[in-house]
Amino acid sequence: MYKAFIFILRKELLLALRQKTDVVTVLFFFLIVSSLFPFAVGPDLNTLKIIGPGVVWVGALLCSLLALHRVFETDFSDGSLEYLVLSGEPLTVLVLAKIGSHWLITGLPVVIVAPLIGLQFGLSAGSLSLLLITLLLGTPVLSLMGSIGAALTLGVRGGAALTSILILPFYVPVLIFGAGAVVADLQGLSIEGHLSILIAMLCLSVALVPIAVANAIKIALE
């Protein structure tokens, strides 16, 4: 079981490395979204400081959404999803591995680059580290929640669009509490509530999402 997890992870990462598509596109997207803003908005540091956390969080969300449709879609259309189901390993574990690699490919790079972007927006060290923490807690939730949408829309006509519609309700709270924490901190308010909610969302989704996704995949293959 543990071995199967590692194998899927390795395969996904090798694929990403081979295609380079996913990692680079995502980073590019993120950089475009966030670094074009100072450009488009003008260089006023006060404005930038206020919109900084929001821009970074929206960028992270878009990156996650962007690569989402492909988490299971290629496997579905080239027939390898069937092998996952028929491997005999618990599907929830395999699914978790796939979601994990989605996060490693779309979430982690964003988390790593975020401080750089934050600097561009003139965020203080305290805000930056808080931003980093919320991203570390929040982006896995995005990958997890998103994969439900991706799995439910496999082989369905309006795939990508439907995915966005389905997962938006799950993304919005993450964004609100993620970006909200940084903004609240800037305003000198307590952020404990925000962080504990993010943690709760993370725990809940790690526990429940793989089950939902595994079932959705089985349904899609029928």
Partner: protein, 225 residues
């Protein structure tokens, strides 16, 4: 049967609106605008309740593989979405005079909006899967995942300090409002109940008919209760 519930619904609506608009006293803080409560609160209640019932039937359909319960879930969704929409709309309408804004990103408002998205997602997912049995199962999963949102709506006013009103009707405490206000609200809630039952019955009958026409041979197979 649907006709009976419709009749009940209309009688109760007339009664409820009468109590609400003519019997209940004017609120000393909000004046007349508070009367939106007689539509707003029942609709908000129904929006959550219908979601719970819908998820319940969907879950039964998923686990027991019974078609009728999935059809029940299917039939409830549009009514639930309508109730959510009414709650949002009346809430926004009410927010203007009381908070000075149509909309704020408050926890209850946001979670209620998310409920609307969930209903829409549920219906969209159903609509885009051609095979009705696959649609049953896939949308059931979505409904079940979304169920976490309902307690969030309900308890949001307690968990976060929000603009929105806290609970004023409670089983444990004695009511804090005038009896006629309470009666009006409860009668209206009952009317919304009856309406929802009537409409869902009609819709489920139509769904059964459509599906049977599509697959007449299904009627003798194990699924239908």
């Amino acid at each position: 049967m649907a006709v009976f519930f419709f009749l009940l619904a209309s009688i109760l609506t007339v009664w409820g609106l009468y109590v609400g608009f003519f019997v209940a006293p004017t609120d000393f803080q909000q004046g007349e605008s508070y009367r939106i409560i007689f539509i707003h609160v029942p609709a908000a209640w129904m929006s959550m309740l219908i979601y719970l019932i819908m998820s319940f039937w969907a879950a039964i359909g998923l686990i027991m593989n019974t078609r009728l319960s999935s059809m029940m879930a299917h039939a409830l969704a549009p009514t639930g979405a309508l109730m959510t929409f009414i709650a949002l709309w009346t809430g926004a309408f009410w927010g203007r005079p009381t908070w000075g804004a149509w909309w704020v990103w408050d926890a209850r408002l946001t979670s209620e909006l998310i409920l609307l998205f969930l209903y829409i997602g549920y219906m969209a997912l159903r609509a885009s899967i051609e095979d009705p049995r696959r649609a049953d199962r896939a949308s059931a999963i979505l409904a079940l995942v979304g169920i976490v949102n309902v307690p969030i709506i309900y308890f949001s006013v307690q968990w976060w300090n929000t603009l929105h009103q806290g609970a004023s009707v409670s089983l444990t405490k004695s009511p804090s409002m005038a009896t006629s206000m309470l009666t009006g609200m409860l009668v209206m809630a009952l009317a919304f109940w009856m309406y929802s039952i009537a409409v869902s019955l009609i819709r489920v009958r139509r769904i059964i008919r459509d599906r049977e026409a599509n697959a007449a041979w299904l009627s003798d197979s194990s699924g239908v209760q």
